[in-house]
Symmetry: C2
Subunit: 203 residues, 2 copies
């Protein structure tokens, strides 16, 4: 993938912003390079193709988001509270994106899943892996809550974690559609319902 | 919008298929006309622009889907059972789409919400109206279930209906990402949890 350099970072940063604002398909390499302020020739020094760039944008974004997720979900707090922290952080991320871009940009992974799933197998597989990792990170916390007796005793922790991630994608879709990060607030109430939490004071 | 004709229908049908397979941005008018088997000149006889075509595709798809939704949700069945029928029909629609296209195509409205929300205000507004209608159709049935005492007594029926639609979008996203219509099966269990249904036998 070439050595790391200022030009490479500029291309990646410009590409992520443009993909969040306008999607992947609408973009051309020339436009990305213009936004990055680097000559077009240097693009192919770092990336084989536009799709290779997209995969790197995805990987770098997940590296950053995973750091945030593992920090929040591994904190020394009651497990349900950690999930709540994650939802609040998600809303904050969407609010900052809205301030920076003028509109809510949504979830990069969800956006690309719907835009590219049935066109680019490499992208589909990478996004499958990322959502799988997200589900596993959530499931670990759900299982802790379950062991403490905070959730319904019959809970299927994996299915519940999958449903929480699906609900999060759906609420972020509404946040983007309505240009309203506050849509994500519904996550906490829905998470309690999906987990069968009877007494929210347990958190 | 011009008179209805065979050529107009062919353009709409080709455009819906192509948008479901590859999104809106990737398409050109020439390609749509080629797929429809109509001369490019006739396109502008029926549609002012590609975006005007997209809005018509959205409207026609919602007219068809609303007919299905109102039929299922207005049926002479217990209310929760009607919701279950809707989820099963959604899975069937995704399965048929998969058979016709080779991959799960997802929800046309969700796909376009993520692709175009922050680029095309007309499309955003129309999709907001459609999701609002979907939430109202679901809410009516949720309210019936609530009145019968099938759900949690403290249920906020509007918020619950919004969450069911968000969950449906999230599960259909997973169905598309994993090319597996069976992902939608999780809807019934999640719907019961979101509504606080204690005894599923009530349905």
């Amino acid at each position: 993938m070439g050595r790391t350099s200022d030009a490479r970072d500029k291309i990646l940063s410009a590409a992520q912003t443009l993909i969040e604002q306008r999607g992947y398909t609408a973009l051309g390499v020339a436009e990305i390079c213009a936004a990055a302020g680097v000559p077009k020739g240097s693009f192919y020094h770092f990336f084989e193709s536009k799709q290779a760039l997209a995969l790197t944008v995805i990987d770098e974004h997940w590296t950053e988001q995973r750091r945030q997720w593992t920090g929040l979900l591994g904190a020394d707090r009651p497990p349900l509270q950690r999930l709540r922290d994650l939802f609040e952080a998600t809303e904050t991320v969407q609010r900052i994106g809205q301030q920076d871009n003028g509109t809510v940009v949504g979830c990069l992974f969800g956006n690309l899943a719907l835009e590219l799933s049935n066109q680019a197998d490499d992208v589909r597989r990478r996004l499958q892996e990322i959502f799988d990792e997200q589900i596993k990170l959530i499931e670990k916390v759900v299982a802790e809550a379950h062991e403490r007796g905070d959730t319904a005793s019959t809970l299927d922790t994996h299915a519940a974690a999958q449903s929480i991630v699906a609900q999060l994608e759906g609420q972020v879709l509404f946040a983007k559609l309505l240009n309203d990060p506050g849509q994500v607030e519904a996550m906490w109430r829905n998470c309690l319902a999906l987990l069968g939490v009877v007494d929210p004071d347990l958190t």
